[in-house]
């Protein structure tokens, strides 16, 4: 063993030496990573070379201090450092590649639709000079404003954490084994906020076309969809269902262009919804602010066919559908009554919750006041009060028994 290792001492060192010369020749263009690998190589070489003779830990401090700096560095076992530096560099490279990939996905989607958006909106982009806001490596926001009937268009894009490879792997594994851990997906949420004037022109109702895949989780994630009934329809492509408050609305709101567009978008579209209710379940009456919106959720389109279909969908929404809804979306009779009733019911529920909360608070306050009173009284008075309360309780109990 010893002999073989001694023999192998030669090559690694000499290899390192030639590399070092090379380094001297073109040291200007040497980037960080190649230097790193070189360093690892040299150190690894020296490690191998020294292993056979005497280990670093076998030297006494006095002996070590006698050696020169270079000798000591050569002697030191660098494995732990190499592993950690290796990990860090893998992380850096994967971060770079992953976040670039995410950027590319978002840019492709926005660029496909940019021309259309510029035609439709006065201001396209989060500020005048900036198109996209990159919140972090997986969250992007987009904004456009300045169009008839639409207050704003916001797009929230949430991608998979590709930049953080360890988190990415962990999340995908966890989502398989634990139901509550949401699986990672590339989701685009588009919200067309209808402006105040146009909002008054049509009724409050919820009407949606939802993709059948994962529709239960879509219903669970969006409060407004959980107020609707789900129904299959012969009008729709097989991959979609209606979720609406009144089925008869389909006759009016199902635009004739929908069929061909849905057919093209079935690979990535999650839902299109007209709503006046929030996506998050309101917990107080104050949360129940009506804001009319048209919401579109999809997986980010990646193939060129899907990108084109997404463009067609947006074109349809902006050119036809939004104005169509505003002009046709008012109903009379039963069609109008049912949505109103749902809203009244929900409001009543919230009020009930708030009332019980208030009652609890009052009761708590009373208790605290009593405690304070007790604390301020003298010992004798406290005893008297307790006696009184006990008597009162007993009287009440006896009354109950008599009854």
């Amino acid at each position: 063993m010893v002999q073989r290792k001694n023999l192998s001492r030669g090559p690694p060192q000499s290899r390192a030496a030639t590399k070092c010369e090379k380094l001297d020749i073109d040291n200007i263009i040497v980037c960080f990573s190649s230097m790193l690998s070189l360093a690892i190589f040299t150190l690894f070489g020296t490690c191998l070379a020294q292993e056979a003779t005497k280990k670093y830990s076998q030297y006494t401090p006095a002996e070590l201090s006698e050696l020169g700096l270079v000798e000591r560095l050569k002697l030191y076992p660098w494995t732990l450092e190499m592993i950690s530096v290796g990990f860090i560099s893998v992380y850096f490279v994967s971060y770079y590649v992953g976040s670039r990939y995410n950027d590319k996905l978002v840019n492709k989607f926005i660029n496909t639709n940019l021309e259309l958006l510029k035609e439709q909106f006065y201001q396209v982009g989060v500020t005048r000079s900036q198109l996209l806001a990159k919140d972090d490596a997986e969250n992007y926001s987009f904004y456009a404003t300045g169009r008839l009937n639409i207050e704003s268009l916001t797009a929230k894009i949430k991608l998979q954490p590709r930049q953080n490879i360890f988190v990415w792997i962990m999340e995908s594994l966890l989502s398989f084994f634990i139901d509550s851990a949401s699986s990672t997906k590339d989701v685009v949420d588009l919200v067309f906020q209808i402006d105040k004037e146009a909002s008054t022109k049509y009724d409050d109702f919820i009407w949606a076309i939802v993709s059948k895949d994962n529709m239960n989780s879509i219903r669970n994630e969006n409060y407004f969809l959980s107020l609707t009934r789900t129904a299959e329809s012969a009008k729709l492509p097989l991959e979609f269902v209606f979720m609406n408050e009144v089925p008869e609305m389909n006759e009016v709101l199902y635009h004739k262009k929908f069929n061909s567009i849905l057919e093209k978008c079935k690979g990535f579209l999650s839902f299109i919804a007209i709503t006046d209710q929030p996506a998050e379940k309101p917990e107080l009456v104050a949360d129940l602010v009506k804001s009319k919106r048209i919401v579109v959720q999809m997986k980010i389109p990646q193939s060129s066919a899907d990108l084109e279909a997404s463009n067609e969908l947006l074109k349809f929404l902006l050119n036809d559908f939004i104005e169509y809804v505003i002009s046709k979306g008012f109903f009379i009779g039963e069609l109008n009554r049912r949505p109103k009733k749902t809203r009244e019911n929900e409001l009543a529920k919230l009020k009930k919750v708030e009332e019980t909360l208030k009652k609890e608070e009052l009761a708590n306050k009373k208790l605290e006041e009593q405690k304070k009173q007790k604390a301020s009284m003298s010992a004798e008075k406290q005893r008297k009060l307790e006696k009184k309360q006990l008597e009162r309780k007993q009287r009440r109990n006896t009354q109950k028994v008599r009854q």
């Binding site: 398989f176 529709m215 219903r219 669970n220 969006n222 409060y223 959980s226 996506a279 379940k281 929900e346």
Partner: protein, 190 residues
Amino acid sequence: MNPAVSNLVLMLGMMQVSRKLDFEDPTILLYVRILYVSCTLLTLGVYLYTRWLIIKKNDLTTFKYLEPPNTLQGETESKLTVTTVKDYDLKQLQGAIKGVFTGVAMMGFMHLYMKYANPLLMQSISPLKGAFESNLVQIHVFGKPASGDLKRPFQASAGLFGGFGNQQQKTDKASIEKAEISGVGGIKEE
């Protein structure tokens, strides 16, 4: 035969067999290990094949049912599930695959850490039997019609001791109508 009864018979039979085997003998141990690994892989294979069949069939018929409330998590109202046959089957199948992995983890602990070899034999046969008896494999691989006991949503089998306190899923129209517009979605999670 009732799966619960046949399971019991199988267990007793395997116990007799495992009593005859000498698990100290390394060759026997090796064979038992090979049997366990191959049976587990076969079980997984059956499930994955079913999964492939489900996706290929792509049955998008929608149906609704009420899930009984999870009293352990303090839920009081039953929750409506709106799903397609494909989604439902895939979810059930994922549960089954998860079960296989849990079994492997348990077995790993018992065999590698506690050094028990007996359960290897039992655990190699019974998951495979379970896989072939599962509703999804019956429907998709053996082509049995999805009616009667195999009607979706699948009811949990009562087992030997009868399902006490075991609430069943509801599919009647009245309770579904009521639960459907109850507005329980979109609850913000912290």
